[in-house]
Symmetry: C2
Subunit: 419 residues, 2 copies
């Protein structure tokens, strides 16, 4: 018997048939003896329809009113799911983010969770209910409805799990776990049984889309064990938890890639103190996200500064640079949107020298030129040409033997075992 | 400059164009110097769609979860209306029933308002906002979302008006006020400028559908002036308020009719104490609403009991009577669903004898047979054959000169004058 928080996304509750399926899974779980909390998103199509209504009325709707509007999406899902459980003859009770005590800051459309007052969930579980919670939403201390932005429902699930000290937070997705590489690109990619928070964060930052960094960070900070698993079958997925002795054998966990970024190079920038600060302050003020930054060795008093940024931010970045490039005294800037990032992630690289050398050698042997490099203690990322990403990922997956469990093995701790 | 609560129903906010129209009206009002609160219903089609979703999932959804589901309808409307006002360059803020302090009892799907904590509305008005409030919904003291049932949005509007001590509560409808008779039946029917709460309640009970009895009762109990007016043009409608000296001239306010009820007669019931109590307790237990009750003079130890009930309740009534008719020792019961009720309403009849006699004479002259009669101090109702209702209503409207303002004149106090 375990205390379990499960999260189902918009696709899993996309129509009434699917909602009934989710209900039956929750009922089976409850009847097997577990205490169950389900966090759900809006039905797949609903959020888009609401956004469309808002756009018909106002080109720049106030964030507060968008939150008021969009939060109805999850509220519909939780009510319908509670009804579907009721139809199976089992008692369920639904709560909005506000009702369940998800207290956030006041930054509408991307609020951060400040606190979870989970008394109401605990009481409902004691009363024997399956508890249904609206993901993606919360309430400020003075009673404004907020939404949590990208990855919000996952974060709600982890926050509720932390609030009630659940044994595990299960996040159901359309893939059955975290893989050593994207299975659509690498045929021999292997599902990872268990991975540490740190590695998972680096995988997510490197482009593994299965879990949002934000929810993994929340889980790490509150010691919540995440089980990332498939909506379509019951097999085990990937456990994300604190690194422990069962994970020591892992050297490299996976290869990730990301094609959503572009590279911008500022050329012939005068090489004087404060110039980088000036550039990135201007970009931050324009709300441009920055990933990697490389400043080349200075020659003849000038230098080149390169950075990568999401393609979605390119317009804002160009506009911000246009305003400062003259006053910086730089020559110009260039945009390259046909780049991709390939990353090697593994906690073992801290204690196994030579990983970087092997990575660069592997890419060279595959005829892949490296454009930029950045590293963390457990990750090495290279920016390369976008059209070489498939051969790069495959070459690295092969070179580090990731298809072979023995090389990178992490012992599976099993579902819900906790830390 | 006035403090005004306005209520727009589901048709008025039925699509984004109409929401924009409502927004423009509110903005014009605000710019003319008034402080404005708007109470809105769900967009016309939305509630039906939500009910349909629920029915797909569960034949008898729990009332609590239906309230969770249906309350999203108004929440969408208020967000969109606030956005539409924002698009006009004016500040607006929306509140759910819970946020605005509509505190109700815990009877889900037909909750009663216990209290209005209107501080938040008052503060938002002081801050210069047009305030948008979700109708039809509230919150129990322990934070459950409730809906108010039939007439709920009108009642919300009146309750908010009471809570902030508004000068007037304007209820916009698809007709332009309360008429001396249904204009679809009586060509010469005349809009009434002002009417007392008591008369309006009797008119509503008699079948005048323009205002819900429930909201009129709430207005009477809290001294809220209602202005019932048209969504389609700006002319004055009908003011509903405390009877005062300006209304003294009124003898008869209007003729109403109702074809939604059926008559049931229990025949040859033993005439002994407690028999009526037994019949109507059984009907009440079966949730059957009763309007008029007539017990005929007893003959030979038995009596006939007739009553009218909404046609919607007929099945439940028959089932309840089937269980008790034998144990009562009555002969049988008969249902007549081709009846109609015509009522004459007017505060003046208290001080003008002979109104009843004139009513019965008028009906007789028109060849209309009277089946049942019931009266209140300011109303006389007759049950007649349904196919005679048009000639009965017209004959009474003529006989009492209702097309002529002089006879039944009530001096119009003008919009928002208060008591």
């Amino acid at each position: 018997m375990a205390l379990v928080v499960t999260k189902f996304g918009g696709t899993s509750v996309g129509d009434t048939d699917r909602i009934r399926n989710v209900a039956r899974r929750l009922v089976a779980r409850k009847q097997a003896g577990d205490d169950v909390v389900a966090v759900v998103s809006a039905m797949g199509h609903v959020t888009d329809e609401l956004v469309d209504l808002a756009r018909q009325i106002c080109s720049t709707p106030p964030d507060r009113e968008m939150d008021m509007l969009l939060s109805t999406g999850e509220q519909v899902s939780i009510a319908l799911l509670a009804m579907a459980i009721h139809a199976e003859g089992v008692e369920a009770i639904s709560f909005t983010g506000a009702q369940v005590g998800i207290v956030t800051d006041g930054v509408h459309s991307k609020a951060k969770i400040a606190e979870v007052r989970a008394d109401r969930v605990r009481q409902a579980l004691r009363d024997g209910y399956i508890v249904i919670v609206a993901g993606f939403q919360g309430m400020t201390p003075d009673g404004q409805i907020t939404t949590l932005g990208r990855g919000g429902s996952d974060t709600t699930a982890v926050a509720v799990a932390a609030g009630i000290d659940a044994d595990v937070c299960e996040i159901y997705t359309d893939v059955d776990g975290v893989y050593t590489a994207d299975p659509r690109i690498v045929e021999s990619a292997r599902k990872i049984d268990a991975i540490s928070y740190e590695e998972m964060l680096e995988m997510a930052a490197g482009g593994a889309g299965v879990l949002q960094m934000r929810s993994v960070e929340f889980a790490r900070n509150h010691g919540v064990v995440i089980h990332c698993r498939s909506s379509f079958h019951d097999g085990p997925g990937t456990i994300v938890k604190e690194a422990d002795e069962t994970m020591e054998q892992a050297i490299i966990s996976g290869v990730t890639h990301d094609t959503s970024e572009a590279k911008i190079t500022l050329r012939d920038v005068p090489d004087k103190p404060g110039v980088a600060a000036e550039v990135f302050t201007a970009l931050a003020d324009a709300n441009v996200n920055i990933d990697m930054i490389i400043q080349n060795v200075s020659e003849q008093g000038t230098t080149d500064i390169s950075f990568t940024t999401p393609k979605d931010d390119l317009d804002r970045a160009s506009s911000a640079l246009g305003k400062i490039v003259a006053e910086l005294g730089a020559r110009d800037w260039q945009v390259d949107d046909s780049v991709a990032k390939v990353s090697l992630v593994g906690a073992g690289m801290k204690t196994h020298p030579g990983i970087a050398a092997q990575m660069f050698r592997t890419l060279a042997d595959a005829g892949v030129n490296i454009d930029m490099i950045s590293t963390s203690p457990i990750r090495i990322s290279c920016v390369i040409a976008a059209d070489q990403i498939q051969s790069a990922v495959n070459a690295l997956h092969d070179s580090f033997g990731l298809e072979n469990e023995d090389v990178t093995a992490v012992t599976s701790p099993g579902c819900g075992e906790g830390e």
